[in-house]
């Protein structure tokens, strides 16, 4: 069952009414038919109104929707062949980061992504998509394998952030993230990243130092969660709505900041009811990018990535 978000309720209610009327209209009442058409029109308009005027805060809710497509499922939808790989070879296989090797239109790729669950049980197992250091170290191991065998890397970002817990601190969360940033920057294979849901701070960036970054239309990418920002800067946890506006975290905003290279359109209201079409568009993007990168020398691929991040920042000289 798909969860209904607060702002979706008026639409859902209208459609429920339509269903009820349809059930009644089996008797062939023409007045009823007209009423149904009228309401259907209204529903369509309402949908358009609501979804084309979503606030950043509402987009955050879509980005966090429990039925939003997850990394593992997208790997399998996008790849013809996919073999999951596990482990950091040091401490633990972190279930909040998944990865593996596969083919996309025949082209070899290493895929890595944050992994959330779709229900409470799975979310607990996946730690709500919040990695420990061993998750980042697994990601790095796979990226190093990709580099070794000249395999392009594709990463899917979907995390509230790196896990803030005892074990994570003890085992060097900061070190793990920092190392990934440095090592990703020196890879000579292309790295293509998608923010597929929540791009939460350093925990997101740790697999996102890429040549190309795409935002799914209803994804967000932020230096801090709107809730965190609200309680720190606005001194009022309830001002998350306002904070999410100020932080410029939607796909369009992130494009505007020059950080994302493109936005992958989603069905109106988000992909949680249609993973398949989304995966097709993502695949198209990956295939096209990989084709381009085949023509570019490894060292130039690295330099492109370096240059991209080198230029980030706004200041006065």
């Amino acid at each position: 069952m798909t969860k209904i978000l607060e702002f979706e309720k008026p639409i859902v209610e209208l459609y429920e009414k339509i269903e009820q009327l349809k059930a009644l209209s089996k008797s062939g009442n023409i007045e009823l038919e007209k009423e149904i058409q009228r309401i259907e029109k209204r529903a369509k308009k309402l949908k358009m109104d609501i979804y084309s005027n979503l606030s950043p805060h509402q987009i955050v809710q879509i980005a966090r929707h429990p039925n939003r497509p997850d990394s593992s499922s997208l790997f399998r939808l996008i790849c013809e062949k996919f073999i999951p790989l596990h482990g950091d070879r040091q401490f633990r296989d972190d279930p909040s980061i998944v990865g593996g090797i596969g083919t996309i239109k025949g082209q070899r790729v290493i895929l890595i992504g944050h992994q959330k669950g779709h229900d409470t049980k799975e979310n607990i197992y996946r730690n709500f998509g919040m990695p420990h250091p061993e998750g980042y170290r697994k990601a790095l191991r796979l990226m190093e394998m990709a580099q070794k065998f000249s395999i392009p890397i594709v990463t899917f970002i979907d995390t509230p952030g790196a896990y803030p817990g005892l074990g994570a601190e003890e085992r060097g969360q900061a070190e793990a993230i920092a190392r990934n940033l440095r090592e990703m920057s020196s890879m000579t294979v292309p790295i293509i990243s998608f923010v597929i849901g929540e791009g939460g701070s350093g925990g997101a960036l740790a697999i996102g130092v890429s040549n190309k970054l795409y935002m799914l239309e209803y994804s967000v990418y932020s230096v801090i969660s709107p809730e965190g920002c609200a309680s720190i800067l606005f001194r009022d946890a309830k001002k998350a709505d306002e904070a999410s506006k100020s932080l410029k975290i939607t796909s369009v905003d992130v494009m505007g900041l020059g950080i994302a290279d493109g936005v992958i359109p989603e069905p109106m209201g988000g992909s949680h009811n249609d993973w398949k079409n989304l995966s097709k568009d993502m695949k198209k993007q990956i295939v096209s990018d990989l084709k381009n990168y085949k023509l570019i020398k490894p060292e130039a691929i690295r330099q492109e990535r370096y240059k991209k991040f080198r230029e980030m920042g706004e200041f006065q000289v």
Binding site: Y163, P164, R182, V223, I224, I232, R235, E314
Partner: protein, 288 residues
């Protein structure tokens, strides 16, 4: 982001180094052991409490004074200034926060970079300043750190960075996060050139700063008792809903957990830094 803690502290707690109500600021109370210290003595002792070894926070100027050859420092890129490009307003405009910080510190930003010498050995240097907006890393901090790394790539002298920062500067949004990638990428180039890089982790070093250039030193030194973490203690306590053990995320804890090479008291730091940059620098071998 333990910038949270910084803000929280700023709101509620009195200034840590509580100045006593005596004319002329001659005396200061140690926030750790509550011993009353004679300011002059404290300054002679590298601003370290001689009763309990508490390390008072230093300004960049003080670090230069204590650790580097007199008048050897040549600053670079001091002209770079932050701008409020998101027109970010919380309880205050970011632009006015910047202005206040600049007025109080007489500096444009939370990091000072340049070259200095240490026992006549030239090094590249960045010193962060927690007193400037919690040492948070925005575009300018990221840019200056990157510039000094690039200078080291060029001139091949060892690089020393003193970290002292609550993390990313939220008011610059995602671009502040990207400074983590920018600085770390530059360090990849430095590492390839085999130029020694030493970090001195000062209180506090957290969030986006710790999770980028702070943790990438060939050698990592921590000042005693410094808070060094990714997540701040409050965020963790809220997440796990229990009090953190004593000393958690402090320098000595990080030493035990293999994250730093040594915890070094400030009076010993100059000698250690000199020895390390000399020992690591491959060009020293040739000189002999």
């Amino acid at each position: 982001m333990s910038i949270i803690d910084w803000f929280a502290k700023k709101q509620k707690a009195p200034s840590k180094a509580e100045r006593l109500n005596i004319p002329g600021d001659l005396w200061i109370k140690c926030p750790s052991c509550s011993e009353v210290l004679f300011t002059k003595d404290l300054e002679v002792n590298y601003k370290v409490c001689n009763h309990c070894n508490f390390h008072f926070r230093l300004s960049p100027e003080e670090r230069l004074l204590y650790l580097f050859d007199k008048n050897s420092f040549v600053e670079s890129d001091s002209n770079l200034k932050p701008i409020d490009f998101l027109k970010f307003k919380d309880t205050q405009q970011y632009s006015s926060r910047i202005k206040n910080a600049q007025q109080k510190s007489k500096k444009h930003e939370a990091v000072t970079i340049g070259q200095a010498s240490i026992n006549n050995k030239m090094v590249n240097l960045a010193i962060m300043d927690f007193f400037f907006l919690g040492g948070s890393m925005g575009s300018v901090v990221g840019e200056k750190i990157t510039k000094i790394i690039e200078a080291a790539v060029e001139n091949q002298h060892p690089l020393i960075i003193f970290t002292m920062s609550g993390g990313a500067r939220m008011q610059e949004g995602l671009l502040s996060l990207m400074q983590m990638a920018k600085t770390s990428s530059a360090l990849a180039l430095l590492s390839e050139k085999k130029v020694p890089y030493i970090t001195v982790l000062c209180d506090p070093t957290t969030g986006g700063t710790s999770a980028s250039f702070a943790m990438l030193g060939d050698i990592q030194i921590a000042e005693p008792g410094a808070l060094i973490s990714f997540a701040g203690p409050r965020v963790i306590e809220q997440t796990i809903r229990q009090k953190l053990p004593d000393g958690f995320q402090k320098s000595e804890f990080l030493l035990e957990h293999g994250m730093v090479d040594m915890v070094t008291s400030r009076p010993d730091l100059k000698e250690i830094l000199f020895d390390l940059v000399t020992l690591l620098d491959p060009r020293e071998e040739v000189k002999k």
